[in-house]
């Protein structure tokens, strides 16, 4: 009996415990939160070791919930959800380590944090669309409180914008799902029941409903031009929260597209495909170019997240098995790398220098002052540029293999995106860490004794860097889960395009 179905509940329990512990001492709350995340990670690891890749979802629990509507409490796992569950467990632990210095209302902070994590686990494990939706909403609400309560730059604005976009997106999804349920006459909300009901929709209906569900989810994935919540939200959020936003929350959207929108409405997908592909490449290039001219360190990383999620959406938009597999791998890869980049900006640099302005950072020789942070950022930056040897490379390679088969021009634009990603990463690396010192003596003197990296920071960085390098050198570890899962009949939209 796998312990995976208990993970969301365990995390929710941990949230309550942290809240309680927070009334006694901040340290107690931190330790409780870390303990919860670590137990979750261990359970995920046990589940992963015992996982035998198959082509379909493996049911973990399936009991009736709301019988009148045929809603079931149905948790299941396949290679795709397991990959993302592993990512969530990594991001959860790392995020807590990088939030170690939160001092205000620590118990509440970690309660919201773990509530979000529990919701994310739940989404990745749900096989009933209604249940998935419930978990999805549970993950959205804490984001508002995390950002509004503990955030920085224009935090009310960022929090409100993010939550409004999220709710707008999820109401589109809900409308689409209910339409299918009603018009198609489904006997429940399970993926298979809805898929069957979707076949009874007229062609026009399918096209419209696919649009609702796909764009609803894609909002959260940061698909251009629905991405604008992402940079402002990331920038406003406290470090741990921006790590989760970029690391796992954006994946919720992409996962929803892959798990719900594409399998349920393959005909709708075919109709929308050209639009989706072009939006994805537009996002890759546009966000990359914006990142190239930002002067706020965190905005650069925020836009780079949008650009990299564009690769995920491009992989999905090809509807080609290799590329879809690459998209899932890219979700994992981006989750790890973006989390790390936000940790460097928010925790390692901002908390020490109290500035994210690249012009001001340029005046500081940060590579001398905090060599550890510079080292971590250089390696994470290389990973983010998609250099081979890191997890982003096999992911982008698989996506590009698929894109070639579908549309040559998307390939060319995506190639341009790879180049732009290299340019902005290099630019920000140079400005932030290797600026010329001594042009303005005052700030140098003031900050000449910055604290070296603390143990939680080192541990968190090692965890995430280790993951991206491990998967970069041995992508089979995840691809052996992902690719069989895509053989499932549910993903037959991805099987139609041939090729060797």
């Amino acid at each position: 009996m796998s312990l995976l179905p208990w993970i969301p509940h365990l995390t929710f329990a941990g949230a309550l415990l942290s809240l309680a512990a927070g009334t006694r001492s901040a340290t107690a709350a931190r330790v409780t939160a870390l303990g919860t995340a670590l137990v979750g990670m261990v359970l995920v690891a046990i589940g992963a070791v015992n996982f035998a890749p198959t082509s379909g979802l493996q049911t973990l629990v399936d009991v009736p919930w709301i019988q009148e509507m045929g809603i079931r409490y149905h948790l299941a796992v396949d290679g795709i959800s397991l990959t993302l569950v592993v990512l969530t467990s990594l991001a959860a632990v790392a995020g807590i380590l990088f939030s170690w210095t939160v001092e205000e209302r620590v118990g509440e902070f970690f309660a919201f944090y773990l509530l979000l994590i529990g919701g994310v686990y739940g989404v990745f494990l749900s096989a009933d669309v209604f249940l998935l939706f419930v978990f999805y909403e549970i993950a959205i609400v804490p984001k508002y409180f995390l950002i509004a309560g503990w955030g920085s730059t224009r935090r009310e604005y960022g929090a409100m914008k993010l939550v409004l976009y999220s709710f707008a997106g999820s109401s589109l999804v809900l409308a689409g799902v209910l339409w299918t349920y009603g018009a198609g006459g489904a006997d429940g909300f399970s993926l298979s029941a809805l898929a069957e009901a979707a076949t009874r929709l007229s062609h026009i209906e399918t096209v419209v409903v696919f649009g609702l569900v796909f764009f609803g989810f894609a909002t959260l994935a940061g698909l251009f031009p629905l991405h604008t919540w992402a940079p402002t939200g990331h920038v406003a959020a406290p470090t741990g929260a921006s790590m989760l936003l970029a690391g796992v929350v954006m994946k919720l959207g992409a996962y929803g597209c892959l798990r719900v929108a594409l399998p349920l409405f393959p005909d709708g997908f075919t109709a929308w495909q050209p639009v989706l592909g072009w939006l994805a490449v537009a996002g890759i290039v546009y966000a990359g170019l914006i990142a190239l001219v930002q002067n706020d360190f965190k905005f650069v990383i925020g836009y780079s997240s949008v650009s990299h999620m564009g690769f995920v959406m491009l992989g999905l938009a090809t509807g080609e098995r290799a590329a879809v597999g690459g998209a899932v791998l890219q979700m994992f890869s981006h989750g790890v790398i973006a989390g790390l980049l936000f940790a460097v900006v928010g925790r390692m640099v901002y908390e020490r220098t109290h500035t994210r302005d690249l012009t001001e950072l340029q005046a500081l020789p940060l590579h001398r002052l905090i060599p550890g942070a510079a080292g971590v950022f250089v390696i994470a930056g290389l990973a983010s540029m998609g250099l081979p040897g890191f997890s982003g490379f096999p992911a982008e390679l698989k996506i590009l293999v698929g894109v070639w088969r579908v549309n040559v021009w998307w390939t060319v634009w995506a190639g341009l995106g790879v180049l732009v990603a290299g340019a902005f990463t290099l630019r920000v690396m140079q400005r932030a860490f290797f600026g010329q010192a001594g042009t303005d003596a005052a700030p140098v003197a003031e900050s000449s004794s910055l604290a070296p990296l603390s143990l939680p920071e080192k541990t968190g960085a090692a965890l995430l860097l280790g993951s991206t390098i491990l998967i970069g050198l041995k992508p089979d570890l995840l691809l052996d889960w992902i690719m069989p899962a895509l053989q499932s009949p549910a993903f037959h939209f991805a099987a139609t395009k041939g090729g060797p």
Binding site: G389, L397, L400, G415, V418, Q430, K474, L479, P500
Partner: protein, 510 residues
């Protein structure tokens, strides 16, 4: 499969040295010197060992290591050595330790520099030995990282900008390579150079790529071409080169020009020649024009420079272009010209090797002058060095004349072979090339005359020391090799002849 993974040792020993240096943050300067030179020198020792066990009569790969790596993508860890790889491993083994000595002299923070340098050396060796795109591309891309920091941190005042330009332009080329190999992988399921060459020989590769339809196969070819052309560089992709070579510290420039520019030339032979012979032939006219443009304009631009380092940078463009001229001329050969193909290809490889020796020696000489001149390295900042520093003048003179192609020195061998092939393959290119040779002679002689002859003026007017022991240790081996290989060129041509014959035989003639 051998009992000892010799080639892995060649690649990873420098990285092991880098790792040791990383783990030893408090290493005293003496230990840094010993450790880094030992690991850098390992390449030459292992290379010599490989040379003694190498069977030069074969054209295939030797000491092959191949183990499955990423099953789902059909990727192997695959290393192998043929005559060309061996030649370049030996070149790396010779140039790298000398460049390292040149780098470590007169700098602070030697440990970090040595660490990055060893990383870079390992990357270059990996490029010369990897036979699967995935590991090859790891080495190819990763080499940018240490190069970037070596240029930026230890370079001149404009180094930050130069390093950025260098990396971004190179990344643009790499994006082309990546896209092209994604397409190849999509069509064939493999990215292994050996397997792909076999598929190409069977005609299968062309058919599979043609399934993409339209102009896509040509785009794929151009993608690979772009990646390699930037690195070599092929005119007009050379814009990054003069500022990078000029701003990088002397030892790093030695390595960049001596070894890294050969990575591009190597790629042309390892990837484009066996995989895209048809496209190379179809585009050989314009490509030859570009390469010739690089040779001529490189020489003319060098004539116009007053900064000695920039002059040598353009001279490198000029010399490396001859390798590419020979390659493109050979690729466009038609029936009846086949006899000329072999000398052209052999000439290209020999020229690559010789340029590695002479260019790194010349950049070192300029570094010596620059150190004496307190940073001045203009053509007119010196005069009469011949009197002030006779040994420097002798050694630098040999390097200059080798670079110029004087018979009896190594530079002559490559150029002779290239032109012997070229006259039969493309007479107009040979004529134009001869004019370029004249321009080469002109700027090298200008260098010689202004700096070494005349009365002692400028920097040279004051006290001007001749080479010290460390400088002799760098320059003497290079110059001795130039003379030796000029007199006994068979030492290197013997290694590559079977390979060249094999390449010539695989040419699709029209």
């Amino acid at each position: 499969m051998n009992a000892v993974p010799w080639l892995s040792l060649v690649v990873f020993l420098p990285w092991l040295g880098a790792l040791l240096l990383w783990l030893w943050p408090k290493a005293p300067s003496g230990a840094v010197w010993t450790l880094s030179l030992a690991f850098s020198g390992s390449t030459l020792i292992l290379g010599a060992l490989a040379l003694s066990c190498f069977d030069p009569s074969q054209s295939g790969y030797q000491f092959v290591e191949r183990v499955p790596w990423i099953r789902t993508l059909g990727i192997d860890y695959h290393l192998g050595l043929d005559g060309m790889s061996l030649l370049l491993v030996l070149l790396t083994g010779i140039v790298a330790p000398l460049a390292l000595i040149a780098s470590l002299r007169r700098v602070a923070r030697t440990r970090m520099l040595a660490l990055l340098f060893l990383l870079l050396q390992g990357c270059a060796l990996g490029v010369f030995l990897a036979l699967d795109f995935f590991p090859w591309f790891i080495f190819w891309e990763l080499s940018l990282v240490p190069a970037f920091f070596l240029i930026k941190v230890w370079g001149g005042p404009g180094a930050g900008r130069a390093a950025y330009t260098f990396v971004v332009i190179t990344l643009a080329g790499s994006a082309g390579l990546l896209l092209a190999f994604a397409a190849i992988h999509g069509a064939t399921g493999t990215m292994n150079f050996v397997d792909l060459a076999r598929l190409r020989a069977e005609g299968e590769l062309t058919l599979r790529l043609a399934e993409y339809g339209g102009t896509v196969p040509t785009l794929i070819f151009l993608g690979v071409l772009a990646g390699l052309a930037v690195k070599a560089p092929l005119f007009p992709f050379h814009a990054w080169m003069p500022p990078t070579y000029a701003e990088a510290p002397t030892g790093v420039t030695m390595f960049l020009t001596g070894v890294m520019s050969k990575m591009g030339v190597y790629g042309f032979f390892r990837i484009l020649w066996p995989l895209f012979p048809g496209d190379l032939r179809d585009h050989s006219g314009p490509l030859l024009l570009l390469a010739m443009g690089g040779a001529i304009l490189g020489a003319l631009a060098a004539l116009r420079q007053t900064d000695l380092k920039r002059m040598l940078a353009y001279s490198s463009l000029n010399h490396v272009s001859y390798c590419l001229v020979a390659l493109f001329a050979a690729a466009g050969a038609v029936r009846g010209q086949i006899a000329a193909v072999e000398p052209a290809l052999a000439g290209a490889l020999v020229q690559a090797f010789n340029h590695g020796l002479s260019a790194s020696a010349l950049f070192f000489c300029v570094g010596v002058l620059e150190a004496r001149g307190g940073g001045a390295r203009g053509l007119n900042d010196f005069g009469g060095v011949r009197v002030a520093a006779p040994l420097l003048s002798l050694l630098c003179g040999v390097a200059l004349f080798s670079s110029l192609g004087l018979p009896g020195l190594n530079g002559f061998v490559g150029e002779f072979l290239v032109f012997r092939g070229l006259f039969a393959l493309s007479p107009w290119a040979a004529v134009a090339g001869t004019i370029a040779l004249l321009a080469t002679a002109l700027f090298l002689l200008t260098f010689w005359q202004r700096v070494f002859h005349g009365s002692r003026s400028g920097v040279t007017a004051g006290a001007f020391a001749d080479l010290d022991a460390g400088e002799r240790a760098v320059l003497v081996p290079l110059v001795v090799l130039m003379v030796l290989l000029g007199v006994v060129p068979g030492l290197i041509t013997g290694l590559i002849n079977p390979l060249v014959t094999h390449w010539a035989a695989s040419l699709p003639l029209s």
